[in-house]
């Protein structure tokens, strides 16, 4: 896997996680 692919994958994972945190609203104890 080349560096560009890794960078793209990491950016996508960050974006999806951020979308879950920003658009989702579950309340988690301790969160």
């Amino acid at each position: 896997m080349d560096r560009n692919t890794i960078r793209t994958a990491v950016a996508a994972a960050v974006a999806l996680t951020a979308a879950w945190v920003a658009a989702g609203a579950p309340i988690t104890l301790g969160g």
Binding site: A11, A15, A19, A23, G24, P26, T28, L29
Partner: protein, 171 residues
């Protein structure tokens, strides 16, 4: 004779594998978390920050949906629908209403939901509208109370990840 012409590929795989503008999604999270900064100077701005965050994440979905094709577009559309379900209940109530019963189910009876938790929750009361779209589903193993919109959002985001991985595997 013997000359070949490049044929542009219109297949979905020709689209960029990643998602566009990840920083916009990260900005949406930062806007929600801002009231938690030391000093608490931004707590009074929590409503405005929440609206700004909603605009940022909706814009992120919109520009990625515009660029996406095929299964990726469907998956992102499902995720956006989940996010909009959450917004539908948050906007008229000024935050995500949480059912005290669901909170008790996960061992959080009496917890102040307005303090922390990305500053976007409040308890359901008699004045709450569309309460069924609030955090009314206890997910005990995760210590979490979730909404219908959260479920739809999560399904869409997981499908998005699956489509991206599959497209990468094909290239």
């Amino acid at each position: 004779v013997g000359t070949t012409f490049p044929v542009p590929s219109l297949a979905p795989e020709a689209a960029p594998l990643g998602l566009r503008r990840p920083t916009l999604a990260v900005l949406a999270v930062a806007l929600q978390a801002a009231p938690g900064l030391p000093g608490g100077h931004l707590v009074d701005l929590r409503d405005g920050l929440l609206v700004a965050s909603a605009i940022a994440i909706t814009a992120w979905f919109a520009l990625n949906l515009r660029a996406a094709r095929g299964a990726l577009r469907v998956a992102l559309g499902v995720a956006l629908a989940g996010g909009l379900l959450n917004l539908a209940v948050m906007l008229p109530n000024g935050g995500m209403p949480v059912a005290p019963e669901a909170l008790a189910e996960i061992g959080g009876a009496g917890v102040d939901v307005t303090d922390g938790h990305l500053y976007k929750h409040l308890l359901i009361d008699d004045g709450t509208v569309l309460a069924f779209l609030g955090d009314v589903i206890p997910v005990r193993p995760l210590g979490m109370a979730a909404s219908v919109g959260d479920g739809v959002l999560l399904a869409g985001l997981l499908a998005t990840a699956a489509v991206l991985v599959r497209r990468h595997a094909r290239t």
